[in-house]
């Protein structure tokens, strides 16, 4: 399918910005996106904005999509806030794609924004903690670190995955993120540092967990027939798939599988006429290191249970045959919840066009990429396939 | 008219496993005021009178064994219930599965509450020969850490099934005494913590007066002499009180041995005589007689006389609970009791 194109993409810096709220962050992403449109962007062509957002930073929760749209100069368009926890951005992209596919809009923005550092750590945990199963999982004493910790521990018990394998994800992603000028954390870490970090939810330690982040991103989605108005090198969304899953991990048949990822990616592959083998680059949802290992398996990059070996063998490094999270992933780049999914699209847009900010992160000759965005502990998953 | 025998047909106890030693108090305060108490039990942060009552109620039912749907009367007793106003029985009844149409009573305002609940429920069984009453006493009293009455306060629970069948111990009779005394171990409705004005001789007099009047009246009514009893279970605010009361009634130290639990677990408040009674039942032989004498400040006493007629014991025994322990230090104790604000 080559009916939908992405012709521009922007991202704010990811980090902690006391002087910027959701409006300012979204504007930064919007301007960056507009500047990336090779032939220039006339804002009057934009008909819709799908904005991923979870909490608005302790601020206005209702109608925030209209708020950020008018702030960037788009007062009278179709705006919707998309909320699927950390999967909001990925679903915002899918919504924009479906809008264009339906013929309703010719040009739409898919974006996301999150302001996480305006509220106390306690309040932050409250907001984050209500995206798993609150009634049972939260009240058993877990937040997401505990839930992914349960998964990691079972994975280690059932498949022999080792502590080192988890830390290899953190090391790899920090190495990549150190070369990403927009990443929250731009420093490499050693395997020893990653393995010896303080325990958060055993077996997960501090370096197994992504941080809280402020940030925004936006991509310009349009009907492929008019892509050339904006750029001679558009990127196409050739496939997408979404799936929900049982919210509580204990309700799932297999503790070590995100069925949402499996089903969403299967739908995306089918639509694009591709298999996992055809994917040359992926941005996956590494909210916790175990989540990246699970993604290797559930996206079909390797067999179930073999993810530890897969990273150990170097497949997912830049330079390997299946580079994953060249941006630094959520771990190093940051995870502003509503923005993460479209931030992955921003990265993939640049990788596919060869326009990544620092050449050392550029994966050469990549033509087929996959982005994978998960809500919470897998309750919702959105996968999109982007191609040159 | 011969009335039907009623009594205890099942029982269960629970002592939380955390302990603190007298030595830790001595390190902290220079002295430890609870005479004869070597260490005492402490509840975990996620336990309270209701969770403990639920636990022992289940055990008591299982010891018969019988299902909760047959409980026709329920009573809960505690001086440290988590609410001063809220129906406590409801929580336990729903948790255990006692029919919601069963009449229940909450007994809370003195350490006599445990035996009050027993007597009230025996009245039910007397009037409902086919009925089964369940009594749960669970307590973990709290006082200010500055007050020496705090030193002996421990934690524990015991429950009893009362009926007219399948008896372990038959009730021979009860007697009670109530009086007006004040200033000893009290909490006004604004207080979370026990006060005690330490007017020692005055309080001792109240203790002796109420208990000897109740127990004396019972023994007279039943025409019993001290040597006819093998076990005497007395309220234990510390480990020495039983001897002082027992002595006045003609009992010896030997009578007090089987139920002398406070040296290991402290003052269990409204659960003191119930848990001590469970310990006596653990040790008793068929044919033994047990005299129970409770005391609650303010003040009052109940006395109950039992004859052991059945061999059934509950596991784990009170001693098994006493032996299952893990020590905490004084700082940890303060945190667990919510004393660090």
């Amino acid at each position: 399918m080559r009916k939908v194109a992405i012709v521009g993409a922007g991202q704010s810096k990811y980090g902690e910005f006391p002087d910027k709220g959701i409006k300012e962050l979204f504007f930064e992403a919007y301007k960056d996106m507009a500047a990336s449109v090779d032939k220039g962007l006339d804002p009057k062509t934009i008909e819709a904005a799908y904005v991923g957002n979870l909490g608005s930073g302790g601020f206005q929760l209702g109608n925030m999509s209209a708020l950020v749209a008018e702030y960037v100069g788009l007062p009278y368009i179709h705006t919707v806030r998309i909320e699927n926890a950390c999967g909001s951005g990925g679903y915002a992209l899918v919504a924009a794609v479906m809008d264009v596919l339906s013929g309703n809009s010719k040009v739409a923005i898919a974006g996301g924004v999150e302001k996480m550092t305006d509220v106390s750590g306690v309040k932050q945990k409250y907001w984050l903690g209500v995206s798993g199963d609150t009634e049972y999982e939260r009240l058993a004493g877990t937040t997401f670190s505990g839930l992914y910790g349960l998964i990691a521990h079972r994975h280690m018990h059932q498949f022999g995955t080792k502590r080192e394998h988890l830390s290899m994800v953190a090391v790899k992603n920090h190495k990549n993120g150190a070369q990403n000028p927009k990443a929250q954390f731009q420093r490499e870490i050693t395997l020893e540092q990653a393995m010896k970090a303080p325990i958060v939810a055993y077996p997960l330690n501090l370096f197994d967990c992504c941080s809280t982040t402020d940030g925004a991103s936006a991509v310009l989605v349009c009907d492929a027939d008019i892509a050339k108005q904006f750029t001679d090198t558009p990127v196409y969304v050739t496939g997408f798939g979404t799936s929900s899953d049982y919210l509580a991990i204990h309700d799932r048949a297999d503790t070590c599988t995100l069925e949402g990822t499996r089903k969403a990616s299967q739908k995306a592959y089918k639509m694009a006429g591709l298999t996992a083998k055809d994917i040359q680059l992926a941005e996956v949802h590494d909210c916790f290191t175990i989540a990246e290992l699970l993604a290797y398996e559930d996206l079909g990059f390797c067999e179930k249970g073999k993810a530890g070996q897969f990273i150990e063998d170097g497949h997912t490094q830049i330079g390997g045959d299946k580079p994953v999270n060249a941006s630094g992933g959520l771990k190093s780049k940051g995870h502003p919840i509503g923005s993460t999914g479209t931030g992955q699209a921003y990265e993939m847009f640049n990788q596919l066009r060869g326009t990544v900010q620092k050449p050392v992160r550029q994966v050469k000759g990549v033509e087929r990429g996959l982005i994978h965005n998960v809500g919470g502990s897998g309750g919702t998953v959105a996968v999109s396939i982007l191609e040159r | 008219m011969i009335s039907m025998a009623i009594g205890i047909s099942g029982y269960g106890a629970y002592i939380p496993r955390l302990r603190i030693k007298r030595e830790d108090y001595v390190k902290a305060w220079g002295s430890f005021a609870a005479a004869g108490v070597n260490e005492k039990a402490v509840m975990s942060l996620d336990e309270d009178a209701l969770t403990s009552a639920a636990k022992v109620s289940k055990r008591a039912l299982e010891s018969v064994p019988m299902g909760p749907e047959r409980v026709s009367r329920f009573a809960i007793a505690s001086t440290s219930a988590p609410y001063t106003e809220k129906l406590l029985s409801g929580t336990v009844m729903v948790c255990i599965g006692i029919p919601q149409t069963t009449f229940s009573s909450d007994h809370t305002t003195s350490t006599r509450a445990g035996t009050e609940a027993l007597i009230a429920c025996f009245e039910h069984v007397r009037g409902n020969p086919a009925g089964h009453a369940l009594v749960a006493a669970a307590d973990a009293p709290r006082a200010s850490m500055w007050n020496t009455v705090e030193h002996g306060l421990g934690a524990g629970a015991a429950a009893f099934v009362l009926s007219g069948e399948n008896l372990i111990a038959e009730l021979e009779g009860t007697a009670s005494y109530a009086s007006e005394h004040f200033g000893e171990r009290f909490r006004s409705s604004d207080d979370e913590l026990i006060h005690d004005l330490s007017v020692k001789k005055f309080f001792e007099a109240s203790l002796i007066s109420n208990t000897t009047k109740a127990a004396g009246a019972l023994m007279k009514k039943l025409d019993r002499k001290p040597e006819e009893y093998q076990h005497v279970v007395v309220q234990q605010p510390d480990a020495k009180v039983p001897a002082s009361i027992g002595g006045k009634l003609g009992f010896t130290d030997a009578h007090l041995v089987s139920s002398g639990v406070s040296k290991s677990i402290g003052d269990l408040g409204a659960a003191s005589t119930p848990v001590a009674l469970a310990a006596a039942l653990d040790a008793a032989k068929v044919g033994d007689r047990i005299l129970v004498i409770s005391y609650g400040s303010g003040a009052g006493s109940d006395a109950l006389s039992f004859k052991v007629v059945g061999e059934r014991k509950t596991a784990p025994s009170v001693q098994a609970h006493i032996d299952n322990k893990e020590y905490v230090d004084y700082v940890q104790y303060l945190k667990l009791k919510g004393a660090i604000k």
């Binding site: 306690v122 945990k125 409250y126 903690g129 209500v130 609150t134 009634e135 049972y136 999982e137 939260r138 009240l139 058993a140 004493g141 877990t142 937040t143 670190s145 505990g146 839930l147 910790g149 349960l150 998964i151 521990h153 079972r154 018990h157 303080p198 325990i199 958060v200 939810a201 055993y202 077996p203 997960l204 501090l206 967990c209 049982y246 509580a248 991990i249 204990h250 309700d251 503790t255 | 496993r17 975990s44 942060l45 996620d46 336990e47 309270d48 209701l50 969770t51 639920a54 636990k55 988590p82 609410y83 929580t91 729903v94 948790c95 599965g97 596991a315 784990p316 940890q332 945190k335 667990l336």
Partner: protein, 141 residues
Amino acid sequence: MAHVSIPMYWRTIPQRYKMMGQKCKKCGAVNFPPKGVCKYCNVSSEFEELQLSGKGKVHTFVLIGAGGAPPEFADQEKVGGSYPVAIVELAEGPKVIGQMADIPPKEVKMGMAVRTELRKIYTEEGVIRYGFKFVPDTDGK
């Protein structure tokens, strides 16, 4: 706080206090906690109530440290140190998450036998929320 409202918490009392499950009338599988449609056959909404034994085995567990504790449990972690949370496979089939109690974290083992017991879960707006936790299931205790 997670802010589970009073009525919302109250509606889960049959599960939290009594381990009430539902047995699917069509496929016979036991759902716990309850669902509108049986999650095994995905077809039937007809169930019969079944009180579960509360017994099960640890399927996986995690040890929550200060950084991983939700605010409702922050004080508990400060006082008692890290606490174990397990997904337990109940004897009747379903798996459910629950905090463990009465066991030092380093003694928790995969596959160990546990059973439920009523404990205080947390307090919100002055109201104590009770529910089940898992304790080691050693015979006779």
